[in-house]
């Protein structure tokens, strides 16, 4: 019975916001950037000139349903 605590009521303890936020902000930014490169770079918008990124992930972009060209 060691997993039953004396705390009244039921529920689970949330992870403190202060612990989640730094990871969410910095991790979230980098991860969204990765999705941007797979999904939209050199399509509607471009950070690099040329079409290499677009052509390289071309099939994945189509099959993942991003507007491609």
């Amino acid at each position: 019975m060691s997993d039953i605590t004396l705390a009244p009521g039921t529920g689970v303890t949330p992870i403190p916001l202060g612990e989640v936020l730094p990871w969410a902000i910095f991790g979230g930014l980098i991860l969204l950037l990765a999705i941007y490169f797979v999904g939209a770079e050199e399509g509607a918008t471009s950070l690099f000139s040329g079409m290499y990124v677009h052509e390289f992930v071309h099939d994945g972009r189509h099959l993942l349903g991003f507007p491609c060209h």
Binding site: D3, I4, T5, L6, A7, P8, G9, T10, G11, V12, T13, P14, I15, L17, E19, V20, W23, A24, G27, G28, L31, L32, A34, I35, F37, V38, G39, A40, G43, A44, T45, M51, Y52, E55, F56, V57, H58, D59, G60, R61, H62, L63, L64, G65, F66, P67, C68, H69
Partner: protein, 246 residues
């Protein structure tokens, strides 16, 4: 804890990406090839010069497809774990496995299914290059409205919870979400750039393959991440355990 969850989310994302790549290779690539063959036939008929091949088809269908799907899926897995870390214990009192499964279901509906109903995936040869900016904008508007309204619906269900109970408040908020999305999809402009002679069979198979890829990714995220998070949180970190009333 968040760091441990993020690492697990990204690892599960990579595994989901590998499974989705296998599926895409078998069920998606034949449709892409048919669409490209159609594209070439049309440009030949119009006497247009063939587009120079910057990346070979073999690379696009192999390492290119692999990279695209695995990077997308790993990033999605990471984001999934971050949202999980935020909602766990805040939205419901479900344990890690149920929270992950429900979150994945919500993600699949809001990020994949709802936008896909309005602006479905298109194979090569479908879509006018001149409208790519407008199409991309509309796609992201649909995506943001879909994710935003689902988040609002969840908050709404929580407000109704005390008065109507879990079952009825979920039904009411779910119905509100469906009505709002129907209205949005009715009002947003339709896009139809499918060429007249394009095979409807290829189009259907392509779109179903696209949905299948996403279904594999989200199912893996929900179930496998849930299992890993359960092990991490319940077995190793007693403070995140379900606290049972006495």
């Amino acid at each position: 804890m968040t760091r441990d969850l993020l690492i697990r989310g990204m690892i599960v994302g990579v595994i989901a990406g590998l499974l989705a790549f296998g599926f895409a290779r078998v069920f998606g690539e034949p449709q892409v090839d048919s669409a490209i063959a159609f594209e070439e036939k049309m440009s030949q008929a119009a006497n247009e010069a063939a587009e120079p091949e910057l990346v070979t088809r073999a690379t696009q269908a192999g390492i290119g497809l692999f990279t695209g799907i695995v990077v997308y899926s790993a990033a999605l897995g990471g984001l999934f774990s971050l949202v999980f870390a935020f909602v766990y214990g805040r939205v419901s009192s479900f344990g890690p496995r149920s929270t992950a499964a429900l979150l994945a279901l919500a993600g699949f509906i809001a990020i994949v299914l709802v936008p896909d109903i309005k602006y479905p995936a298109n194979p090569p040869a479908v879509g006018n290059p001149d409208t790519i900016t407008a199409r991309t904008e509309l796609f992201f508007v649909m995506l943001v409205l879909s994710v935003g309204s689902l988040a609002v619906a969840v908050a709404f269900a929580r407000r109704l919870h005390a008065r109507y109970g879990a079952w009825n408040s979920t039904l009411i908020a779910g119905a509100a979400f469906v009505v709002f999305i129907t209205l949005v999809q009715y009002l947003l402009p339709a896009i139809n750039e499918v060429p007249e002679q394009f095979s409807p069979n290829v189009l259907w198979n392509f779109r179903i393959a696209s949905l299948g890829i996403h279904a594999i990714v989200w199912a893996t995220l929900g179930l496998l991440f849930g299992a890993l998070a359960e092990r991490l949180m319940v077995k190793q970190q007693p403070r995140y355990r379900l606290q049972t009333a006495r």
